[in-house]
């Protein structure tokens, strides 16, 4: 119980602050949980590890949860993961049951979140223990598996998904082949005049902040930065506070299986690298439709739809942390930003993390638990005020976000202007790339894992001298190849099925 000494009242203060800011980000359409974590990272530079993580985990939970507010009240998902919440949440608002829908969603979020924390707590150490035995070969195969999973679940096509991931790897290789990992210290993939700035490659955080902060704002700017929320807010807000649809916990009667199944789906989808919350909630929503006693009611304002969607997208939070803390592979784009926070504090996430930093691991679990509870209390009792937050105009918010992006990028390496230009470069790249069909999630995962993939790959070949080693090293290697083939087969199978339908 050594970690109890780390649990100061401060930690809870930071968690609550994170949750509140996160809810605001989540509730405003066009701003996401990932953006919240990326923008608030500079605040953690001077905090210690535990408090910093508390803040970021609060932001994560709050950001994912806040998305349900505009989804239910305005039919606009606040974050991608609350798309399925609009299917039933908004019809409920139209029937005068806005408050009921909100509180149903909030309670389901709490359940999904808590469930995923328990799974994280019991599952991550087991997976990490298993992964400790991995040599470079298995580690390389794990990365290959991660990329194949991302690609096979990508929205458009597997090929484009893989292409995006490999492109991410390419960007990560720019810079020096570092001597500290056994490289020869030569720079590559750049022209001579770039050597001064790019000696150590592009820094992770400016890249992330650029893609998720500035990139998103450029997309909005193209659409003219319209405040769609303001024009409709009056009617929707009064509908939400109408007393007609009073909430009571009896909504959940007969929905326990749904609640549990959706939370589990969310958690396990969260564990798959690069698969975001939208996939989790869509999957559990369709499952609920399959199992529902009266499927025709779904989509017309059935609370069970809101339950399925919200329980799943909060289940994601704990799930996405499992591969991050046990293998060092982020489960979604928000946890990818969290990797940045760990690196900042000089901590390496991977199989050894939990064992070596037991106190931090325990306080993370406590922070995550309290973030979920804080989210519930804040949203449940202050929902009317939060509902007003979504009317804050973007022309005031976006300049603040860009300013915070700049602070984050500049301060990361203690004042390097090149990092700020990286931010701009990747903001524009993200904007142009997504137009061309490049997918951001695989790109980011590739970018984060690229350098390690190189070391594992090249060092394995240097010591064994043959490609065959990747197949013959151990039973685990063979098993990983089976997993890789299954994920590729799954993708081809589902795309064939999709084109027939």
């Amino acid at each position: 119980m050594e970690f109890l000494s780390l649990l100061s009242p401060e930690l809870f203060l930071f968690v609550v602050a994170g949750v509140i800011v996160g809810i605001v980000f989540g509730a405003i359409p066009g701003m996401t949980a990932t953006m919240a974590v990326a923008v608030c990272l500079p605040l953690t530079y001077s905090l210690d590890m535990v408090n910093g993580l508390g803040l970021l985990l609060g932001l994560y939970v709050g950001g994912i949860s806040g998305g349900l507010v505009p989804a239910i009240l305005l039919n606009i998902p606040g974050t991608p993961s609350s798309i399925t919440t609009t299917f039933d949440g908004y019809p409920m608002t139209q029937n005068g049951e806005g408050e009921k829908a909100l509180k149903t969603g909030i309670t389901s979020s709490l359940f999904g979140g808590l469930l995923s924390v328990f799974i994280l707590f019991f599952f991550a150490p087991v997976l990490a223990d298993f992964a400790i035995k991995f040599s470079y070969i298995e580690k390389f195969l794990i990365i290959l598996f991660a990329l194949s999973v991302i690609a096979s679940l990508s929205k458009k096509s597997m090929l484009v998904g893989i292409f995006s991931g490999v492109l991410g790897i390419w960007f990560s290789l720019i810079g020096t082949y570092d001597i500290s990992v056994g490289g020869n210290g030569e720079t590559r993939l750049m022209f001579d005049f770039m050597e001064y700035h790019l000696e150590s490659g592009f820094a992770l955080l400016p890249v992330l902040i650029g893609l998720f902060g500035l990139g998103t704002i450029l997309e909005e700017a193209e659409k003219g930065v319209k405040d769609e929320v303001q024009s409709v807010n009056g009617a929707a807000l009064s509908a939400a506070t109408a007393k007609a649809g009073k909430f009571s916990f009896s909504v959940f009667k007969g929905q326990y299986v749904n609640l549990f199944r959706s939370g589990m789906i969310g958690t396990f989808v969260g564990m798959l690298p690069g698969v975001g919350g939208s996939a989790a909630s869509v999957l559990s929503y369709t499952q609920q439709k399959n199992f529902s006693k009266d499927p025709s009611k779904l989509g017309t304002g059935a609370p069970e739809g809101v339950i399925a969607s919200e329980s799943a997208n909060n289940g994601l939070t704990g799930g996405a942390l499992v591969p991050l803390l046990s293998l060092g592979i982020p489960g979604d784009s928000t946890t990818a930003v969290l990797i940045g926070a760990f690196t900042l504090q000089g901590l390496q996430v991977g199989p050894l993390f939990i064992g070596e930093h037991l106190d931090i691991w325990h306080s993370m679990v406590v922070a995550l638990l309290s973030a979920n509870i804080a989210m519930f209390l804040i949203m449940f009792f202050a929902i009317k005020y939060i509902a007003r937050v979504i009317t804050v105009p973007k022309y005031l918010l976006y300049p603040i976000i860009i300013m915070m992006c700049v602070v984050g990028a500049y301060a990361i390496n203690y004042g390097i202007m090149f990092d700020v230009w990286t931010l701009l470069l990747f903001g524009v790249l993200g904007f142009v790339g997504s137009k061309l069909g490049i997918e951001i999630a695989p790109f980011i995962i590739g970018f984060i894992l690229g350098k390690s993939a190189e070391v594992y790959f090249v060092k394995s070949l240097e010591s064994f001298g043959s490609f065959t080693i990747f197949f013959t090293k151990s039973p685990i290697a063979v098993f990983l190849w089976v997993l890789i083939l299954v994920s590729i087969w799954f993708s081809i199978y589902s795309s064939k099925k999709g084109s027939q339908a």
């Binding site: 020869n184 003219g224 319209k226 240097e462 043959s466």
Partner: protein, 147 residues
Amino acid sequence: MGDSFSKLLSVNIDFEQSHMFFPKIIMWLLFLLFLLIVVLYGRKFLEDLKAGRRSIRFFEENFDKIRLFGTIGVVILYFVLMDYVGVLFPNTGLGFLLVSIPFMMSLSFLYVHDLNKKKTIIIFLNSIIAPTAAWYILGNLFNITLP
């Protein structure tokens, strides 16, 4: 037979050139994937294009030119000036503060629709208060390096 097969799969990496070993593989992979995408989807794409089901329009229809390119322009100006002014007041973060205020104002005025007196006042207040608060809290309380 088996011997020549295992020779085919064996590699010897020259340490002097090892920094290009993996990047070369990645670039070949990118190239092959690109070819595969062109071969597999290219024809359908062209057919769709001819039939008018798809357009090669890069921007959205009636996209907001002023706001999009204005954003990029203002941001570039912001970064350049911040560096320039920051040098005048080293280690105080004043460059950041002094440049952020006009930056926020211009971006807000760029984004706002139906400007009126009330909105103007709010924008002015926001552009002064937000950077000052950020400068004070981050730079002075949290000791974060600012330009």
